[in-house]
Symmetry: C2
Subunit: 420 residues, 2 copies
């Protein structure tokens, strides 16, 4: 046990929301309150953006219902951002805010860009001899962080997509018409983890179940093979349900559908439109009707259809971050570790922030079937446990009773900072 560090803690959220990132904040807050060395429990508004602006809230002032409500409330209750810290003076400003409010523990929930930011903040603190412990909490529906078995947020989006596929499949089956091609575009950027997870919508031993074709960014798209694959499915089925990851690439590594050239602050291309593209491809090449749907941001916010396993692990990751920091750890991210046994069990451990910041976890090649459009038993074994259990969302007057924090602001003590 390292020397006790007494001071305040700050938790913030970054990047695209998920259904369980608030559960991680609840985990941080609950565990922080157990540790006397942590005096005040603050939240940063809109990630580093709010910290730059010295916009902090007092999380210990929130009602217990509110903190409990975070367990089932989607999106980022503290607010989030896609703002990238670029200038040295911005990093220094962050430290200045930390110092002014005696922040000694910083917990940042986010993906690899966010963990990179956390890492740089920590390095600067070390350089300046400001004692600070920084622990990342993993978050991304894309499931592409290295070192962790999987990412909180992933299981829930897969569960939601599988539910929608089952429901839409029943609808397609019910219609008298034949030869419908239904394309469902899902998130995941350059990684096919989410699209791959759709395979869990299939029943046991039922090869005819939807989805019939899964298109992953990991498998270069060939128009001719796709048309052939659709034709094959329609020989055996009344309809063909295709799931496609938004970042589908051709053999040269270019986006198959690049309807827009807009980029976010991290230089990621804003993707979309591949579903529509495939639908017109089908209609042009086969005498069948094609429809596309794009689940959009609803898929990362569908808390009423989220995974209890995912939710529990997100909460556990938040708590583990606090425990690690109090025990003297810093510059690490909490990771999820799957036990070796036959039955699924999951524990937390730690990995260096720098490692997470610079890696992207890919789907192992032997988890994708040789046909390039379905997943092997290895993938199913990996993914199946992550969608188990249903989060019970309370309802009020017929709609989910999600909570909003009361967000009592911490008084600013610094001059404002010109950060743009």
């Amino acid at each position: 046990m390292s020397e006790e560090l007494v001071g305040n803690c700050l938790v913030a959220q970054s990047g695209g929301p998920t259904t369980v990132i608030n559960a991680s904040v609840a985990g941080v807050v609950s565990e922080a309150l157990n540790n006397p060395c942590i005096e005040e429990v603050y939240g940063g508004i809109n990630g580093v953006l709010g910290i730059l602006k010295e916009e902090l809230i007092d999380l210990a002032e929130e009602s217990q219902q509110n903190i409990r409500g975070l367990r089932f409330t989607p999106a980022s209750a503290l607010g989030t951002c896609r703002f990238k810290l670029k200038r040295e003076q911005d990093y220094e400003r962050i430290l200045e805010v930390f110092e002014a409010h005696n922040i000694r523990y910083f917990f940042y929930c986010g993906g690899n860009d966010s963990q990179d930011t956390a890492d740089k903040i920590s390095k600067l603190a070390q350089k300046k001899n400001y004692e600070l412990r920084v622990i990342g909490v993993p978050k991304t529906i894309d499931n592409d962080l290295v070192t962790t078995d999987h990412c909180p947020g992933y299981g829930s989006v897969v569960k939601y997509i599988c539910t929608v596929i089952r429901e839409c499949a029943l609808d397609h089956e019910a219609m008298g018409q034949h030869d419908l091609v239904s394309i469902m575009e899902v998130m995941g950027r350059n990684a096919g983890w989410i699209a791959a997870g759709a395979t869990l919508a299939k029943g046991k031993d039922n090869a005819k179940d939807a989805p019939h074709i899964i298109l992953l960014p990991e498998v270069p798209f060939s128009k001719d093979k796709f048309i052939e694959d659709v034709r094959d499915v329609l020989k055996k089925n009344k309809y063909c349900l295709v799931v496609v990851g938004e970042g589908l690439l051709d053999k040269d590594g270019n986006y198959v559908a690049n309807s827009t050239s807009s980029q976010d602050a991290f230089g990621h291309q804003q993707l979309g439109g591949v579903g529509d593209f495939l639908a017109s491809l089908v209609e042009q090449n086969l005498a069948v009707k094609a429809r596309s749907s794009k689940l959009g941001i609803g898929q990362r916010a569908a808390a009423q259809c989220s995974s209890q396993t995912d939710n529990d692990e997100a909460f556990m990751a938040g708590g583990a971050a606090v425990k690690a920091a109090v025990a003297g750890e810093t510059d690490k991210m909490v990771i999820l570790v799957r036990s070796e046994g036959e039955n699924y069990e999951c524990e937390t451990s730690l990995a260096p922030l720098s490692e997470i910041a610079n890696g992207v976890k890919e789907i192992p090649a032997d988890w994708i079937s040789e046909d390039g459009i379905s997943m092997t038993a290895k993938f199913i074994k990996y993914c199946q446990p992550l969608i188990q259990g249903e989060v019970e969302v309370p309802y009020d007057n017929g709609v989910p009773a999600y909570v909003r924090l009361s967000k009592r602001r911490v008084r600013k003590v610094l001059d404002s900072h010109d950060f743009e």
Copy 2:
């Protein structure tokens, strides 16, 4: 009590599926089995299409789990169709099938086109002196059938859309960015009932809650007013969430977005694309980012997010149809009647099929606010009770355990019929 009519019954489903049309079939089957005058309980595959082909199944052979499972399984378990009977010989074929299988009770779950078909079958039976009792079971998410207070299927689609709006609204709020316009296109054809229902996503006394603008086909669309309305919302809010009914019309009664000219068998135009249209309109006229989403057929299949009230009423309507027919009624559709009191209560009654076939129920003018983009308290009072209660869907291995009927076919006794 009229003379007892002994024979078999047939139930079939028609038109677009809903989350509760199977609950109506479960209601028919459960009640049919209570009445000794009903000997066999048959289901027609794909509505009139299957009856023409003499494709009947024996519903009494289904397991009890299967019939219970219909209570929470979306889409049309018997299969459905949009096939329109046009020729005299097709109507005669239907009667021939009925006669061959001693069908004396016919229950047809569907909207106004389906009730029109049921009415014509009944009239032909009377002409031919074939004793047949025909009772319609109301079904449509569009909520546009006359004489009934509301339609089974409507409450569930509204509950689902309100849930998605709450979830997406939290996601929009969480983002650091300002000035996002989010457009959500919903079903409903020429009626705005579904779009109107989205108003229930707003919290009590919270005018700032989404949706901020509701565009109904009942209110002629003006581009200039729309841009002004969006601008007004963005003065007060970080984002503006717009819900639009797919059948939005301009002042001349033309579809605002008519991206396709395809029509279904009843001559209804297949709608879609108004969300994308509005998004580009916003981006062209205001310096803001606009996104559109189209919930698609998922909205009529989202059983895991459906209304218990709606489900109970759909089941009740199925049972009421059987009771009415056994009591000697025919040529009627079951309707839902709301009691006069302060507390919501709903009973069934009957209305003539011919009346339903020829009418379309419109939203009363004073249920739409004067601003043309929101609903009055009268609408809220009407709609609020319909989304109460949550259907509990059982899960298997992380995904909803919806049922498929085993569909044991009734042996054909007739020659095949050339129906097209």
